[in-house]
């Protein structure tokens, strides 16, 4: 289990992370969200033991994260962190041996992953000759080559096309099934929503949202009502508790304050013609994120 206990990190007078606490159980995927400069990378660095928290502690299976247990951890940083002048094979041999892996094992696993990511032909190519997407794949492989029990991924999906993104998600899910802990950050909230169980949203180093996604959504009272049919937008807007109406090409979305308002909307819909769809759903993570971060900014 990974435990971040009341971790605080100061850079001079700047509070990068402010009393952050969360746990990740084996087989759990944990999302760490936040705007740029919210403290995500600092948190990752504390998890990796690259930064010593000013206060609090980070424990991996009850022990402090250090070089004694680092071989069980895979780390992918936000930006490309590859030695561009050497070949894919040499890079993996370098990074793999730094994790105490045998060259033979590294090469076997490298072949497997290159095949799975459909880039086996690039094994002997220099990193600088690869496209950005393929470099991203190599960086991802370098993080998982040691079959980590804890996988720390800082923006793993940035710069990926939807097909490769799905491939990454598939691999991450495989690690989850094998019981690995995965902690990752992403700006693509739809992905966070689709495959992680728990999350924390950081803003200026503080957790402004935390917990299981279903609970976070439930706690966030606001709902969306999706309607397909002949509705009058002004009438819909005038219903008490409807705070916004969005008209899309094929549907109308009424954003409502709480569950009770859904009944009022339904009463109106019943009077309308050609209603094909009426669907009440929870707010998206993206909406919750924007609302909470915006609120946090207003509070400041």
């Amino acid at each position: 289990m990974l435990e971040v206990k009341n971790a605080r990190m100061l850079y001079g007078d700047l509070v990068a992370v402010d009393h952050l606490s969360f746990n990740i159980e084996p087989g759990e995927i944990f999302g760490l969200l936040g705007t740029n400069g919210a403290g995500k990378t600092t948190t990752f660095r504390m998890i990796m033991g690259l930064l010593e928290p000013t206060d609090g502690e980070v424990l991996y299976n009850g022990n402090k994260v250090g070089y004694h247990n680092v071989n069980e951890i895979g780390y992918m940083i936000e930006e490309r962190s590859l030695l561009t002048k050497i070949s894919v094979k040499d890079l993996m041999l370098y990074f793999g041996q730094l994790k105490d892996m045998e060259p033979k094992v590294i090469l076997e696993r490298l072949d497997y992953w290159l095949k799975r990511f459909d880039i086996l032909d690039y094994k002997n190519k220099k990193i600088k000759e690869l496209s950005k997407g393929n470099q991203q794949k190599i960086q991802f492989i370098s993080a998982i080559i040691n079959n980590p029990k804890l996988l720390v991924l800082d923006e793993p999906f940035s710069g990926l096309d939807p097909i490769n993104m799905e491939l990454f998600v598939e691999v991450i899910r495989d690690f989850q099934k094998k019981g690995s802990m995965v902690v990752f950050s992403s700006h693509q909230l739809d992905h966070v929503e689709s495959f992680c169980e728990k999350l924390i949203v950081l803003e200026k180093g503080k957790a402004i949202i935390e917990g299981r996604i279903d609970k976070v959504k439930k706690d966030y009272k606001k709902l969306n009502v999706r309607i397909v049919g002949d509705v009058d937008v002004d009438t819909l807007n005038a219903i008490p508790g409807v705070y916004k109406v969005i008209v899309n090409s094929n549907e109308v979305i009424a954003k409502i304050e709480n569950e009770d308002v859904a009944g009022l909307v339904f009463d109106y819909i019943r009077t309308c013609k050609n209603i094909m769809k009426y669907d009440v759903e929870q707010a998206t993570l993206s909406e919750i994120f924007i609302a909470k971060v915006g609120q946090s900014h207003e509070e400041v």
Partner: protein
């Protein structure tokens, strides 16, 4: 330890297992062969002393052998097939003024032969000391030719001008300079460049985060320095091997050559060996200075590379280092030429100049063994202090991408590495 060994092996392989290393070594080997055999090469092209340049010799003959001057002149000029290379002029003892002779541009040598032919006392006043042994041996040969019954070897006294500086000593120091300064300078520059470029390459590509996530910054730092110093040792040993090969080539060449070269001009190494009977100690000291000195420069280069963010940034950082090395190089080259031996000796004790200047000063006799040991101790102490200072700063700086002004950055890193009180870091 396993990771440290791997990093050292990886760093070394990265440098040695390259075409650039092979090419540079071929060039170094060729240069060594040329430099070491320069005297032979010059002789081949008819260089060196001009046989047409005459040497004027005044002869004061106080013996009863009146034919001595003409016989001696014939003997001396015999190898020049009729040409008069040595021009002899008889002068009386009363006419000879020593001070006047040193000032006289038309006289090169004055030979004063006192006593009898059987037991002569010979004084040679010379402005060309390198001819002394030749003059003495030929004169003795001439005396033996008279087949004197009670002949005894003459007593020779050589007199030089009061301001005379042994040109062989000067030539030796100059030779030492060229033999040692350049390789030392090149090796240190190569090593510092390697360590700096290596670190900044990993840092600027952000690969350093993945690396430092697997090995401690201290291990990374020491492994880089170890790999570089091993490289320097390998390159240094190879250079010595090239020098040996060059010397052997020189010997083989002179043995098989139809051209008869004067003794001692076949190889610069044999020439230097004549002057440095304790060359083994000199070599050991030179290697020690090279290792310790390079280590010191490597530590500083690693520090600068850890503080830099990009390759360009590192170029700015390393400028003072390169300027210091250049200063040491120029002191090493020019101090012997302008006679600044004292200055060179003092500078040899300054740790930043020691790696380049101390080996030359020691090899050329400017430093005694005791003084060389002091130099070595000073730079070792300096190295240990710098290691203690640099390691914590390296740890702080290597993962930082601070791009503030260089001075501000350096201050910040030192402040973070050495907080005023232990709590500041844990604030």
């Amino acid at each position: 330890m396993k990771k440290f060994k791997f990093l050292v092996k990886y760093g070394l392989k990265k440098r040695v297992w390259r075409k650039a290393f092979l090419i540079s070594n071929i060039i170094i080997a060729l240069l060594m062969i040329i430099i070491i055999n320069i005297p032979s090469i010059i002789s081949l092209f008819g260089g060196g002393e001009d046989p047409n340049e005459q040497v004027t010799i005044n002869l004061i003959n106080e013996t009863t052998q009146t034919e001595l001057l003409s016989d001696y002149s014939d003997l001396m000029n015999e190898p020049f097939s009729g040409a008069e290379y040595f021009v002899f002029t008889p002068i009386a003892l009363a006419e000879f003024d020593v001070d006047g002779f040193w000032e006289d541009a038309n006289s090169d040598i004055t030979i004063e032969i006192m006593g009898s032919v059987e037991t002569p006392i010979i004084t040679i006043y010379s402005k060309i000391p390198e001819l002394d042994s030749f003059l003495s041996s030929q004169l003795e040969l001439q005396l033996i030719n008279y087949q004197i019954v009670n002949y005894q070897s003459p007593v020779f006294e050589n007199v030089y001008a009061p301001d005379y500086e042994d040109p062989e000593q000067e030539a030796f120091i100059s030779s030492m300079t060229s033999m040692l300064v350049l390789p030392m300078f090149i090796l240190i520059v190569m090593a510092t460049q390697f360590v700096g470029v290596d670190i900044i390459e990993e840092k600027s590509t952000k690969a350093i985060e993945t690396i430092i996530a697997s090995v401690p910054a201290k291990t990374h730092f020491i492994s880089k320095i170890t790999a570089s110093i091993l490289f320097v040792i390998i390159q240094g040993v190879l250079t010595i091997v090239y020098a040996g090969i060059a010397s052997l080539i020189g010997k083989a060449f002179s043995a098989s050559s139809a051209v008869t070269l004067p003794t001692g001009t076949t190889s610069l190494l044999s020439y230097l060996r004549d002057f440095v009977p304790n060359w083994e100690i000199v070599l050991i000291f030179a290697l020690l200075f090279m290792i310790v000195g390079t280590l010191f420069y490597l530590v500083v280069a690693a520090l600068f590379a850890s503080m830099a963010v990009t390759q360009e940034d590192y170029q700015h950082f390393q400028s003072p280092l390169m300027l210091t090395l250049l200063a040491a190089f120029y002191i090493g080259i020019f101090a012997p030429i302008v006679g600044g031996y004292g200055f060179m000796k003092v500078m040899a004790f300054v740790p930043i100049f020691t790696p380049i200047l101390a080996p030359i000063a020691f090899a050329s006799g400017l430093l005694t063994v005791f003084e060389a040991i002091i130099c070595l101790v000073v730079i070792i102490v300096f190295l240990i202090i710098s290691l203690y200072l640099v390691a914590p700063v390296y740890k702080v700086a290597i993962l930082s991408y601070d791009q503030t002004k260089i001075i501000t950055r350096v201050k910040n890193y030192f402040r973070k590495a050495f907080p005023k009180n232990g709590k500041e870091a844990k604030k």
